[in-house]
């Protein structure tokens, strides 16, 4: 059984990748991921905004109230050697890269052009085998056009690509008018992989407190539909690799994503829910399914149900929608 796959030019021993999550916060955990069978690990995202906020907060809180009262001109020991900023992230990346054999990729969530470039370079220097750009941007400004949003993505990819020599993946959100065209533009801009789709932070309301609250749910297997659709559509039409993320909870979703055309399948929620060792279950489950269904290799599986390869390519388009509606009528109407 050949489970190998190629992602952004890297050969991985199988397609199941631990995606960005707080689980990758320690070297010990990353090591456990490797032991459990992850073929690659994507680090949790380095948020440029948070780094800036932290740095400003520390500066403010350490200097607030100082030089005001004769007996207490300050409140903390003078410290020259503290590191606020990406150092601890990069240190973890460095130590993890040294501790494991599988590729470790950095994940970057930037807000400024300088931030994207500087941190990407630092990640490469720290030993990242690739970088995943997590472009988190809600165009809440009503004067921002779709084109402007798309251009912003493309510029970021170009800038980062020009600054590093390791492969660069872009984790996309599904809110583009024309995802195919957007994917093509990113592919043209040099993205080495597109990862479909990231899950936006979407606030909720707390009705007892009448407050807007951050609320992040783990994904459910139902959520694979949207990425599955677009991976199937994009497969074979781009230079870049395709990563699937969202809703991977059992080996079945892994199989489906591969059939749609994903080169790698990423999971976070399943690991947060079941623990790091669940990676073994996913990999073994993939292998068992392939054995039971007589597949020899992931290569054979990959893209087998993509738009390009299915017998009825319109199944992915509007005709299929009608079919869905019709079928929804079901047997009881």
């Amino acid at each position: 059984m050949d489970l190998r796959t190629t992602y952004m030019g890297m050969e991985l021993k199988h397609p199941i990748v631990a995606s960005a999550s707080p689980l990758a916060g320690t070297v010990a955990n990353i090591k456990r991921m490797e032991d459990a069978g992850a073929s690659a690990v994507i680090m949790f995202s380095l948020f440029e905004e948070q780094l800036k906020h932290e740095s400003a907060a520390l500066e403010y809180l350490m200097t607030a109230h100082t030089e005001s009262f004769a007996e207490s001109l300050n409140y903390f020991p003078e410290m020259d050697d503290y590191t606020v900023g990406p150092d601890s992230y990069l240190d973890l990346l460095r130590r993890a890269s040294e501790a494991v054999d599988i590729p470790i990729m950095g994940s970057l969530n930037g807000i400024t052009n300088t931030g994207w470039i500087e941190y990407a370079q630092l990640m490469q220097q720290a030993g990242a085998k690739g970088i995943e750009l997590n472009v988190y941007y809600i165009p809440a400004d009503l004067t921002t056009s779709g084109r402007e949003v798309e251009d912003r993505y493309i510029e970021i990819v170009k800038a980062v690509k020009a600054a590093v020599t390791i492969p660069v993946a872009v984790k996309l959100n599904p809110f583009f008018s024309a995802i195919g065209s957007m994917a093509k533009s990113l592919d043209d801009a040099g993205a080495d992989a597109l990862v479909l789709f990231n899950r936006f932070y979407q606030p909720d309301f707390d009705l007892s407190k009448l407050e807007v609250i951050p609320d992040l749910h783990l994904s459910t297997p139902d959520e694979i539909r949207l990425p599955l659709l677009w991976i199937a559509v994009l497969y074979g039409k781009l230079q870049s690799s395709l990563g699937a993320t969202r809703g991977v909870h059992t080996p079945i979703e892994v199989v489906k994503y591969l059939m749609a055309g994903a080169d790698v399948v990423m999971t976070t929620s399943a690991l947060l829910k079941n623990g790091v060792d669940y990676l073994t279950t996913l990999r073994d489950g993939l292998q068992t399914w392939m054995e039971l269904n007589h597949y020899d290799s992931v290569h054979q599986l990959k893209g087998s149900m993509s738009q390009r390869n299915v017998a009825d390519p319109t199944a992915f388009e509007r005709a299929n929608y009608i079919k869905t509606l019709e079928s929804y009528k079901g047997d009881y109407l």
């Binding site: 109230h65 030089e67 005001s68 004769a70 007996e71 409140y75 020991p77 601890s88 407050e211």
Partner: protein, 1194 residues
């Protein structure tokens, strides 16, 4: 030889730099103004900086200075080179060990930032009362007069002590030298090594206790030999002057800087000489130089080795021509025939004459005088007054200078117009707010200018007595020669006024030299709109003195450039742009360099933002045209309103206006007694954002009033008929209670006293249905509502106070109606302590005695000019006092002893006079329950009746009883302080008082750090927290004082956190007070020293409880008496990991930045400790009552 380095630092750093490098062990304890020395030693040690022998000194914090001296003694006895740093009361605590250390001929130097002693009042400021108190201990005393000397003498003292085997105090003036920033040449390690002889170090080690060659030291001696043994040391003291002078000579060879035991400055044939030590000597010398240049013949003898005072060296330096001498001393010994140095000088001269060794032949006239107590300014004009006095035929002896003594008439007249500032020196004064970064920017400017080899720089900073909204005044001098003017700038050629409203408060331009440049932050207005807004008298001064006026709307520039409220960089840029200290372009370049250096670690973006701010500052800085006539319509507002009491108008207001120096002796109370309730006259208006009440949304829960640290939120209920004369904007709502249709409710915010902390908004649970986030109380701009609210407050005060008998004391909702008798303190905005103090005052204020340990609470409670401790409408209120830091529990116990004794005696008198008073009343008075407020009010009625009857009784015992009768109302004794007191310095006293079984209540406001002295570790500091003295994170756990106290069985114990559960806090306070034995309440107090956004203080309290860091518990012995379990856990099992609470606070978070691995490790240990403690508590909470200590009954 390594290259000499020139730097700009303060006196504390200068001394500590050497002390650290020539010792192996530093035993430390924080005390102002010496704390910085200990903090630096600890910091250097944690950074691995080595001493001159290549090893990192060990720095150990002790529980108090007595402990520091004890540990130093032990370390010295076992052969380590050991030092300590202290001041004032700290030095007094060291006295017993100092006798031992000296008696055993031990080489050591204690470095002291000399400070006043607590007498009629505490003072943190500088004088020589502390060092003069240790004269008889046998320590030699070497004095420094400047920052450079503090550095140099530290080394000379160390060299001398090793050779002499006699210990030394090396001291310099607290604040004036310890905190003055000045340019100095640093000693290199090579120079230090050249001064310290290794053979003497070996000898020190060889004298040490050592089981390999055992002996005993520290025996008990008897009448047969003690006396002789005491005399054995004499030869060692005889040699000291020679040894010190030799060390000074060697020092001169090594460094080129020469000192002598006595240095004489002035005319060699002077007839009038001032003898002085410390920084005042420099002022005296500067004055003498000026006077001699104008034809006088005067001189100054600067004393460096004060003890032992070498007659030979002294006489050698004293000009033979001298006819009169004034010995000036920065100390006071009441009842003495003269201050100590005066007596020594007289004695030396007399002895010399008797021996025929007096060079002048006849004894000159000698007068002694006092100056500069508690950092009172000592100026050239004062020196001149002394020289002038010496010229008189009968000069005044035992005089004072610098004050007006209209009682004993000791003071000399001083001519304030005598100012001798040098023209070559740029003298600048900056008036800023503590929060606006002015001092920090000025320290930076001094570094920038001081780094220029062409310039010398000096900085000194004056802070006011408040912890929030405080004013700072920076005094800077820059010039081509070393600056030896240790007094405030008297004639400034640059004045920066960094807050526009300072023009209204006191005379900021008083010291402006004619033609001086004045820089004004015109915010909130533009410079162009400013002139007419300046008060008319200030305009007149600007015109009269021909001042050059510049303005910038600094707040706006700061805001527009992303700098928030910090206007420091902007005002600093303006200073350099217009002061002409350095060429403008060069100065701007240097500022930018400094910005880059400071913020480089924080990223390019921060640097860029600051650069842009600098450039935009230059664009926005405008010259303001000064017309020929003052056109302003505004006069300066009065300091206090006309209806203030006379004392407040005549005395307090002078201090408030910064004119306390002008108050004569007669104006001040003779025994340190001051009136209560004075903060209410001091409308500080320090916040432009204040809470605004929304009656329609409010549910009248009382939470906002409960948590308000400054007591500015008051509630009343009243009959709606009272509203007839209400101002139109007065807010009111129907009371939220059934069955009272005529009763209205008002929540009144005292806007002018608000610090803008926002805790009230955070705690408010009532929200608008229409607008998410809008609450029943919200922060808004003050200015638009101020006038209306002033009228509202006036009206609110006319509404009747609620009858205490009708208030539900058991709920937060009820307690809001009890007026706080602790109001408008100077505590930090958002203080976590003061809500507890305020609650205490509300619940028991009219019969409350407070013993307050020194610390934050004694400062915001008792720092002049005003006190927040207040008085109710019956004229009653808390009686408050502060004794010391270390003895507070014992002090408070004394209150109880008096109350108990006088109650017993009153009962005895009642019984004896029962026939005349009436048996029924006497029985009622003696048997009264006095637990609830109703009981108390009934007893007050009986006491009033008793007083009436006693006046009719013709029996001397009736008079006795009349005086004591107030004691028949049960007194509520509270012993209040912080964790530094309760866990460390006062720990044994707290323990002893708890064990006494007496009815006292101890309230520990636990900030888990020494807050008042700037964040040093206490035994309450949690494992893993970073604090001063624990720069690498504290590695020991926090002491569980609750369990310690519970172990006695008869102590009521509660751990409370008002932010987490105010109802539980309230219950604990009431239970503690009701319990007729000792009580201990440990109250979580969030603090600026935690490195938090203070607005989130209550949330942090909540998280502290939720994470199990601060489990809420109560242990009530009264419950144990009834056989039930006295231990109650009031908080739920920890719900969140400790990390979630801790990482909101810099004190924990910073370790994750400096040493992530250690942070992780300590966090894990701390979590384990929390889990472990919780399981112990849970087990205790599940026990039967019989499983706890039985109660001992008196």
């Amino acid at each position: 030889m390594t290259e000499r380095q020139v730097t700009t630092i303060d006196g504390n750093e200068a001394a500590a730099y050497v002390a650290y490098r020539v010792n192996e062990i530093c035993t430390i304890y924080p005390i102002t103004p010496s704390s910085t020395m200990a903090e630096l030693a600890d910091q250097w040690s944690s950074e691995g900086i080595k001493n001159i022998w290549g090893t990192v000194p060990m720095v150990v914090e002790m529980q108090h200075e007595g402990g520091a001296a004890g540990a130093a003694h032990g370390a010295l006895q076992t052969g380590a080179l050991t030092t300590t740093f202290t001041a004032s009361q700290g030095l007094l605590l060291m006295i017993p060990n100092m006798y031992k250390i000296a008696g055993e001929l031990t080489a050591a130097v204690f470095h002291v930032a000399a400070r006043a002693l607590a007498t009629q009042g505490l003072s943190i400021f500088g004088d020589h009362q502390d060092v003069m108190s240790v004269r008889p201990t046998g320590f030699c005393m070497l004095v420094s007069a400047s920052v450079q000397e503090a550095h140099d003498m530290a080394l000379i003292a160390q060299a001398a002590t090793l050779e002499a085997r006699v210990p030394f105090i090396h001291f310099f003036d607290g604040f004036r030298t310890s905190h003055e920033v000045n340019k100095l040449t640093l000693l290199t390690d090579d120079e230090m090594r050249a001064m310290i002889r290794d053979d003497l170090v070996m000898a020190h080690r060889n004298r040490a206790l050592n089981p390999d060659r055992p002996f005993i030291r520290g025996t008990a001696q008897n009448p047969d030999t003690y006396f002789q043994a005491r005399e054995t040391v004499n030869p060692f003291y005889t040699k000291v002057p020679g040894i010190v002078q030799a060390a000074m000579d060697r020092f001169a060879e090594v460094t080129g800087r020469r000192y002598n035991l006595f240095d004489y400055f002035g005319d060699p044939n002077a007839e009038r000489v001032i003898i002085i030590m410390g920084s005042g000597g420099e002022t005296a010398y500067e004055t003498a130089k000026y006077l001699n240049a104008n034809g006088e013949k005067v001189g100054v003898l600067q004393v460096r080795l004060y003890q032992p005072l070498s007659a030979v060296h002294f006489l050698e330096k004293l000009p033979k021509s001298v006819k009169s001498i004034a010995v000036l001393e920065r100390t006071k010994e009441p009842g003495a025939t003269g201050e100590p140095m005066y007596l020594e000088v007289v004695n030396t001269l007399v002895e010399a004459q008797m021996e025929g060794a007096l060079p002048s032949g006849t004894i000159p006239r000698v007068i002694g005088g006092r100056y500069g107590l508690s950092s009172k300014e000592f100026t050239p004009a004062m020196c001149k007054a002394v020289f002038d006095e010496l010229a008189k035929a009968k000069p005044k002896n035992h005089f004072t200078v610098g004050i007006v003594d209209d009682v004993a008439h000791t003071s000399l007249d001083v001519d304030p117009s005598f100012v001798i500032e040098h023209d070559k020196v740029v003298r600048a004064m900056f008036f800023g707010l503590g929060a606006d970064g002015t001092v920090g920017a000025n320290k930076n400017s001094i570094k920038i200018i001081g780094d220029d080899p062409e310039f010398f720089a000096q900085g000194y900073f004056v802070y006011d007595s408040k912890k929030s909204g405080s004013q700072t005044v920076s005094h800077l001098r820059f010039g081509p020669d070393p600056i030896q003017s240790p007094y405030l700038v008297q004639s400034a050629n640059f004045i920066g006024v960094h807050q526009f409203n300072f023009l209204d408060r006191g005379d900021v331009l008083k010291n402006a030299a004619p033609g001086a440049v004045v820089l004004l932050n015109t915010s909130p207005h533009e410079p162009e709109e400013t002139w007419d807004r300046i008060p008319r008298p200030v305009q007149q001064e600007i015109i009269d003195k021909k001042l050059e006026l510049y303005g910038i709307n600094a707040d706006k520039v700061a805001r527009d450039n992303g700098m928030g409220t910090r206007i420091n960089t902007i005002m600093q840029t303006c200073f350099f742009a217009i002061s002409k200290v350095l060429p403008r372009d060069q100065a701007i370049e240097k500022i930018k360099y400094s910005i880059k250096k400071t913020y480089a670690r924080k990223g390019e973006e921060v640097v860029r933002k600051n650069f842009v701010a600098v450039d935009n500052t230059l664009v926005n800085l405008k010259a303001i045209a000064v017309p020929a006539q003052a056109t302003g319509l505004r006069e300066l507002p009065p300091v206090v309103p006309a209806n203030a009491p006379d004392f407040v108008k005549n005395v307090t207001a002078m201090m408030m206006a910064g004119r306390g120096d002008e108050l004569p002796v007669s104006a001040l109370p003779v025994d340190g007694t001051y009136p209560s309730a004075t903060t209410r006259w001091e409308k500080r208006n320090i916040s432009s954002f204040v809470p605004i009440w929304e009656p329609d949304i409010c549910i009248q829960c009382g939470n906002c009033s409960m948590v308000c640290p400054h007591g500015v939120i008051r509630s009343k209920f009243y009959n709606e008929a009272s509203l007839e004369s209400a101002p139109h904007a007065f807010k009111t709502a129907p009371i939220d209670a059934r069955g009272f249709p005529d009763i209205r409710y008002t929540l009144q915010v005292y806007l002018e006293d608000c610090t803008g902390c926002g805790l009230c908004v955070e705690v408010c649970p009532a929200k608008s249905k229409e607008k998410a986030g809008h609450k029943a109380i919200n922060m808004a701009l003050k200015e638009p509502v101020l006038e209306n609210e002033r009228a509202n407050i006036d009206f609110f005060e006319t509404l009747p106070e609620v009858d205490r008998g009708r208030v539900d004391f058991s709920t937060v909702r009820g307690v809001q109606f009890l007026p706080p008798l602790f109001e408008f303190s100077g505590a930090c905005a958002g203080c976590g302590e003061t809500p507890y103090v305020k609650l205490l005052s509300q619940l028991f204020g009219d019969r409350l005695l407070v013993a307050n340990a020194t610390g934050c609470s004694s400062i915001y409670g008792g720092n002049q000019p005003t006190t927040p401790w207040s008085i109710n409408n019956e004229g009653r209120g808390p009686a408050w006092s502060n004794s010391l830091f270390e003895d507070n529990a014992e002090f408070g116990l004394g209150f109880r002893l008096t109350a108990d004794k006088h109650l017993t005696y009153a009962h005895e008198l009642l019984k004896a006079l029962a026939g005349s008073i009436g048996e029924a009343l006497v029985d009622d008075l003696i048997e009264a329950e006095q637990t609830t407020e109703i009981d108390i009010r009934h007893q007050r009625g009986r006491v009033a009746e008793l007083k009436q009857r006693l006046k009719e009784i013709k029996d001397p015992r009736a008079e006795q009883l009349l005086v004591l009768s107030d004691q028949l109302v049960r007194r509520s004794v509270w012993i209040v302080g912080g964790d530094g007191w309760a866990y460390d310095i006062g720990s044994s006293g707290v323990d002893h008082v708890l064990a006494s079984g007496r009815d006292v209540n101890i309230l520990v406001m636990d900030t888990e750090v020494y807050s008042n002295t700037g964040g040093q570790m206490s035994k309450s500091t949690p494992l893993g927290a970073v604090a001063k003295f624990a720069a690498a994170g504290k590695v020991a756990g926090k002491k569980d004082m609750a369990l310690q106290a519970i172990s006695y069985g008869n102590v009521y114990v509660a751990r409370v956190a008002l932010g987490a559960n105010p109802q539980q806090s309230l219950l604990a306070f009431r239970e503690a007070e009701a319990y007729r034995g000792p009580s201990l309440i440990l109250a979580y107090s969030h603090c600026i020293a935690h490195g938090i956004n203070m607005q989130r203080g209550l949330e942090q309290q909540h998280l502290a409880v939720e994470s199990g860091h601060w489990p809420l518990v109560r242990y009530n012995p009264a419950v144990r008496e009834s056989g039930a379990n006295p231990f109650v856990l009031d908080s739920a099992r920890p719900k969140i990991p400790l990390k979630q609470y801790r990482y909101n606070e810099v004190r924990f978070k910073v370790l994750a930045y400096t040493n992530p691995k250690e942070a992780e490790h300590l966090m894990e240990l701390a979590q384990q400790a929390v889990n472990r403690r919780w399981s112990v508590y849970e087990e205790m909470a599940a026990r039967g009552g019989a499983d706890f200590q039985p109660i001992f009954k008196h």
